[in-house]
Symmetry: C2
């Protein structure tokens, strides 16, 4: 399981304040803590309130990079903001994200190739997020067709089925779990899948319980990556246990006490 730490996001007041005051220590600590807790990459998002997203993205990437060598997942709706980040983010970077509009996909795939990055593509278009499994699958097909057409390697692609909050879209979640296995049959090699895990529990009580329960089910269904909170120790313990049950990690009595 590829864990993408979600905590460096200007949506959080503490991070927004650190970006405003150029408080590098706070950002570096968030990066270090997530890596130490088991993150394989870090999402970097300047947040909705940034007055100058390009400047803030460059500052965040520079600040994280000054303390840590870990792949970064550059998260913004504007390609120009992502591109400035890609110029300095180094190897293993991830573009987060493009929707399934062929025009946008072609541009994002070209940018990913230019910077040797991988790309998260969402199964949604300008009209929004589909309600059902079939329409999400159609959009995944569009993503894969565009990749084939532009010579973009499926191995550099992550498909994100777009998790919606359970309190607004409960009936969709089962379809998303089913979609994870549908996608295994859509191409060879199969595209890898990623979810923005915390979306599922937005607006809910018991957020952590919902997050970790969905993650365990999704891992059983073949999910390869999640943007999530690696500092949630119960979540990480559930993930490790799920991987152990699936025989992807070796069982050991002291598995939890020693950390990971």
């Amino acid at each position: 399981m590829f864990v993408i730490g979600e905590l460096i996001n200007g949506m959080y007041a503490k991070v927004a304040a650190a970006i405003r005051s150029k408080d590098a220590d706070t950002i570096r600590a968030l990066a270090r803590d997530q890596a130490a807790a088991g993150a394989n990459a870090l999402d970097v998002n300047v947040g909705p309130a940034s007055a100058d997203p390009v400047r803030d993205m460059v500052w965040l990437v520079t600040t994280i990079r000054s303390g840590l060598n870990i792949p970064l997942c550059l998260d913004n709706t504007k390609p120009a903001v992502i591109e400035e980040g890609l110029k300095i983010s180094g190897p293993g970077s991830i573009i987060n994200s493009s929707n399934a509009d062929p025009e946008r996909l072609r541009m994002a795939m070209a940018m990913a190739k230019r910077y040797k990055a991988s790309l998260i593509a969402l199964t949604m278009d300008a009209k929004g997020v589909p309600q059902d499994r079939e329409r999400r699958l159609e959009m995944a097909s569009v993503i894969l067709e565009t990749a084939a057409e532009t010579g973009f390697s499926v191995q550099d692609l992550w498909i994100d089925p777009v998790l919606m909050p359970i309190h607004v879209a409960q009936p969709q979640l089962c379809g998303i779990l089913g979609l994870l296995s549908d996608l295994k049959g859509l191409a060879a090699p199969a595209p890898r899948t990623v979810v923005g895990l915390s979306n599922i529990s937005q607006g809910a009580q018991e957020r952590r319980l919902i997050n970790r329960t969905f993650l365990v089910m999704a891992v059983a269904g073949g999910l390869e990556a999640a943007i999530m909170d690696p500092l949630d120790t119960e979540l990480m313990a559930a993930l490790t246990t799920a991987e152990m049950i699936l025989n992807k990690k070796i069982y050991c009595d002291s598995i939890r006490k020693t950390g990971r």
Copy 2:
């Protein structure tokens, strides 16, 4: 999900002592607490140390029945012990269990029909528990063939793939999860599945974490019932959340605070 409470089992010292001293209050309290926590049925097992299993089974069933109207799952290796229990256990009783030996199955199915009970059949034979998914599937086929041959309704059948402890059989668990979906295609209507959940964590640290993680994965894979501890509140919360994600229970913000 059909929850079969596991706590009335002479394997536990407290229950063994209650059986020895005919302490009906302890047994009735265990029955009442499990039902209140969400158990749909109760497993009844005199335990390995019983000097007179028939007498102890009859006492347990009579004692539970005197305080509570809930289906009982009569758990013993000896058919005679189960039959004496069935005579007084009332509607919805479950025989736990028969192995997949056709001779034993025929006898157990005849007994189940006689008492209008359902039957848990294990995918193992006199030679023991199979190591792999394929062999378990073959035994499930034997169970279904024997049911067809004797006119035993698949709707009265529970197939138990026999969970082994993770510390001795880690590689089997993934196959058992796969088997749950294999079984959906084996007959129409599909046989329902049940596991003895706590087996998976025998001898392990973090037993509850392992139990609830496996249960969530198995529910996502189509498991219909588990013999488990309904007093483990984290386990029950994980189960409810899993069913909510699968759209089998309606999401409600107060889902946990109100109990179930």
